[in-house]
């Protein structure tokens, strides 16, 4: 346990040192990155063996003589610590070439400080063992990430996005306070272990409150709307860590509160499963509908949170149905997906950052042909895209396979759980298909074809550290996909301390995993054989080159390429009215047609509904109460006196 505190101290020291050294730009970056990474390394060095051996630890400290700060580590916390310590060093190394504007060196220093606070607070969140510690760490995490999002605060849009994130972070925290207060009113204790003593009727209500609180962090539909705003606003190494690791803290919270409450009602699992399906499907459809790469990736995070929740929901339904296999593989699948997603989503965000850095735009409709101009970014982005679409032989498939496997075990259920399980499998299939469509769109339109604008045509490859980090991550996506066994063991050890499934025997399943690995290997082998065969066929032959055949026209103009909007149109339209498409067409009115415009936008239904049913009525109401605030000091003093009198008399 002490090693972890050492690691957190080193991480924080890295951030502070970065800020202090901000005048020396390069030195600052080197020191901050090296120290923080070293801290993460220490953490990882402690976490991994402990996770595999499965030893728990606790520690507690007295803080200000009023509260006890209690920490404990079980397999679940240890598992979540792995991405927390694994991903940030990589994104930090990436930031070395990403933050290269010397004018903004103070800002970069502040950025490194908050970055280290974010890592430390995330580690503290998963280590906490009582409400006080947890909420402290949670707030620290929300605030530090808020400052990270506000990096480019000069732009109005970014500030707006930052405030929206702040609103959701604090709104979510309020739900958590409510849930914890409810627990405290029943148990009279701050300790996490007291949660299970809460009466059964209250548990469902507490869980729903906490689910909303944690869900707003994780990004479940419809309280996800900060994600597609904050991610495009934040610098890419920050979006990488927020999407790859921080939103998983929401998932951790949901899982932790579920474990602590030990609820017996089947409703909880069903709520989680249904939310997961809705989140997953709508997330991917919105992702498909968006043309801004980072916004698209943010929605794809929503989708992946959906997949993770489907796995978790399968697990919870399995627990309430007393189906050990279903429960085990559901939980294991969601854990595996958490781990994998943290890698490929960070990779994709960094790829998007690299594109934004060099092509100066993140709009897919303005990109194209980057594969030739940015070979490393292009290839790694391609690998990440295959992985996130859940296709073998890359890592995304492994998590989905486990979830499928768990869901199929659940087909022995009856009635409602049976229907739910069927729907879960079908939704996973739909999500998979739509994710393929979504990421072929990004890769196909942004990286392949011809550049649509001069900005895209002028792009060149990003700095060395950026390419190196993305390369490492792309390779690890492939390695996990081909040799999944050690990583699956990691996920299995993660759920070792989950009492509901701890007695499950995984021996039979590991042979399946080996077969899976063999299949991936056969496929790759076959791929190489066929590639060599193809090379031989082309040996000593005439290879011509010319323009793309366009039915009589050859390459008339690059603007005639298929666009992202039209690529997605049919699929998105299929999900109308949940994903409404708004078209504005000025039309041709004169005999000799003048300029005309056609615009197609997809607005998030959650956002428009909030606007229509929540914020607009609220603003109207508040507007009517404006007379209370009139600027007369004497009357304000009168308010205070009235308030005090009322308080004294009635309370």
């Amino acid at each position: 346990m002490d090693t972890l505190f050492v690691s957190i101290t080193v991480i924080l020291a890295g951030g502070i040192a970065g800020l202090l050294l901000y005048r020396q730009f390069t030195l600052m970056k080197v020191v901050a990155i090296a120290t923080t990474s070293a801290g993460c390394g220490i953490g990882l060095y402690y976490t991994l063996p402990k996770l595999l051996q499965g030893t728990a630890a606790t520690a507690s400290y007295n803080w200000l003589h009023t509260f006890t700060l209690a920490f404990s580590l079980d397999s679940v916390s240890l598992f979540f610590l792995v991405p927390i310590f694994l991903i940030p060093p990589l994104t930090l190394i990436y930031s070395f070439h990403y933050l290269e504007n010397k004018q903004k060196r103070l800002r970069a220093g502040v950025n490194y400080l908050f970055f280290s606070i974010l890592i430390a607070s995330m580690a503290l969140v998963v280590m906490s063992a009582n409400m006080i510690t947890f909420l402290l760490a949670w707030e620290l995490m929300s605030l530090s990430s808020f400052f990270l999002v506000m990096y480019d605060y000069e732009s109005y849009g970014n500030r707006k996005a930052g405030y929206l994130y702040f609103l959701f972070a604090q709104g979510g925290a309020m739900f958590l306070f409510a849930a914890f207060a409810l627990i405290h009113s029943h148990s009279g204790s701050f300790d996490f272990n007291s949660f299970s003593s809460v009466p059964e009727q209250a548990k469902l209500f507490i869980f729903i409150l906490a689910f909303l609180g944690f869900g707003s962090k994780a990004g479940i539909f419809p309280i996800h709307i900060w994600l597609p705003k904050a991610h495009p606003a934040a610098p890419s190494h920050v979006s990488a860590i927020m999407s790859g690791v921080m939103i998983k803290m929401g998932i951790y919270g949901i899982f932790r509160i579920y474990l602590l409450l030990e609820p017996t009602t089947a409703l909880i699992g069903q709520i989680v499963l249904i939310t997961g399906m809705v989140t997953g499907i709508l997330g991917v459809v919105y992702a498909l509908a968006k043309q801004d790469i980072k916004q698209l990736l943010a929605y794809s995070s929503v989708e992946n949170i959906g997949i993770i929740l489907i796995g978790m929901g399968i697990g919870m339904v399995g627990v309430s149905e007393q189906n050990q296999a279903m429960a085990f593989f559901g939980f294991a699948g969601s854990f595996m997906h958490i781990f994998n997603h943290s890698i490929f989503k960070s990779l994709l965000f960094m790829g998007a950052g690299s594109v934004l850095h060099k092509a100066k735009t993140k709009n897919i409709e303005e990109l194209g042909g980057l594969m030739k101009r940015m070979p490393v970014t292009g290839r790694t982005f391609l690998a990440g895209s295959v992985a996130i679409s859940g296709l073998p032989p890359f890592s995304g498939f492994i998590g989905e396979f486990l979830i499928y496997y768990g869901a199929f075990q659940g087909l022995t259920c009856n009635k409602f759980p049976y229907i739910l399980t069927i729907l879960a499998i079908i939704s996973l299939a739909v999500i998979g298909g739509m994710a393929t469509a979504c990421f072929t769109k990004v890769v196909g339109l942004a990286f392949l074809g011809e550049p649509r604008t001069e900005k895209a045509a002028a792009a060149s490859e990003s700095g060395f550290t950026m390419g190196a980090v993305m390369g490492i991550m792309a390779v690890s996506c492939l390695v996990i996909g081909v040799f999944p066994e050690p990583f699956i063991r990691l996920a299995f050890s993660g759920i070792k301390d989950v009492s509901m499934v701890s007695s499950f025997d995984t021996g039979a399943f590991l042979t399946i995993i080996r077969q899976l690995s063999k299949t991936a290997a056969i496929f790759i082998g076959l791929f190489f054989i066929v590639s060599i065969f193809r090379k031989m066929l082309y040996a000593k032959k005439e290879i011509g080159s010319g323009g793309t055949w366009g039915c009589g026209f050859t390459q008339p103009t690059v603007r005639m390429q298929y666009t992202g909007t039209s690529y997605a149109y049919e699929m998105v339209e299929f999900f109308n009215p949940f994903v409404p498409i708004k078209n504005v067409y000025t039309g041709i009115k004169k005999i000799f047609p003048g300029t005309t415009t056609w615009e197609s936008t997809v607005d998030d239904i959650a956002e428009t509904s909030y606007q229509r049913y929540l914020t607009t009525p609220l603003l109207n109401l508040v507007n009517k109460l404006k007379w209370i605030q009139h600027g007369h000091i004497q009357l304000y003093i009168g308010y205070i006196i009235v308030a005090i009198i009322v308080l004294l008399l009635f309370l």
């Binding site: 066929v530 193809r534 080159s545």
Partner: protein, 305 residues
Amino acid sequence: MESILSFCFAVLIAPLLPAVIQKTKAYFAGKQGPPLLINYYTMIKLFKKGSVYSTSTSFVFKQGPVVGFCTSLMMLAYFPMAEIAPLFSFHGDVLILFYLMGLGRFFTILAALDTASPFEGMGAAREAFFSTLAEMTIFGILILFFKLTGSLSFNEFFSGEHVISLMGEYGALLILVVAGLYIVMLTENSRVPVDDPATHLELTMIHEVMILDHSGPDLALIELGAYFKLLFYSGFLARLIDPFHSDNTFVNGMLFYAVVLFIYISIGVVESITARYKMNVVPKFILTPFILVFFVTILTMGVLQ
């Protein structure tokens, strides 16, 4: 040994069978049609040629055909043709195989988008959309088969205690599945009424428009992949409806391929007597089998308990 022979036979015969469809269509049109070995001639011709690559394309364009070919070949390696155990098989192979098909599709779509063509993206978008819808049916079928056999492997579906067959225990339920799978086969292999490989207008094509720019050996690989895929689906269907069983492996194989041949002829008949649907009707057509299969899955809840 049997497995290897069976696999090789399937690979070798795959290009022959589509010619049967052409023959059937020719018969309906009152023409003589191409020779039965036409596809072999085409393959040899294509393999001999060189290629012309568009200046817009990158390495992805060249990988597309290879990945597509490999994934289709994988299906044949894991599928038990003619009651003979496949080369490889394990509990859970259906999941990875259908996802491998997804990988093939992923790269075919990318190769199409790589050409910067105004048309190929159109086909790509449709391919991505329609196959997602078809995937729903496929997973519906997998759910049902798991319910019937407790297995997630092609080989175990058709061997062991509860063999899935129209003549078997739950044959009545499977009638709807057979209809559903037939529609999925038409969809996934770009046949009429979803897609018309013989149409003259690129705007109305799905699969053919995606491969407009491929030529020579690349095109041959794509075509071969398409033959394997069609053989896989019709083999799958044939295993369901095959009413014959003989203890002699050879006779059994002959009977099985006779059923496969029957399916190919039926595709030819369907193509001859129906026209391609309007594009906006196609999603409804593809969703029909999903409803059928979902209905059957709900039915099993009562039947099997």
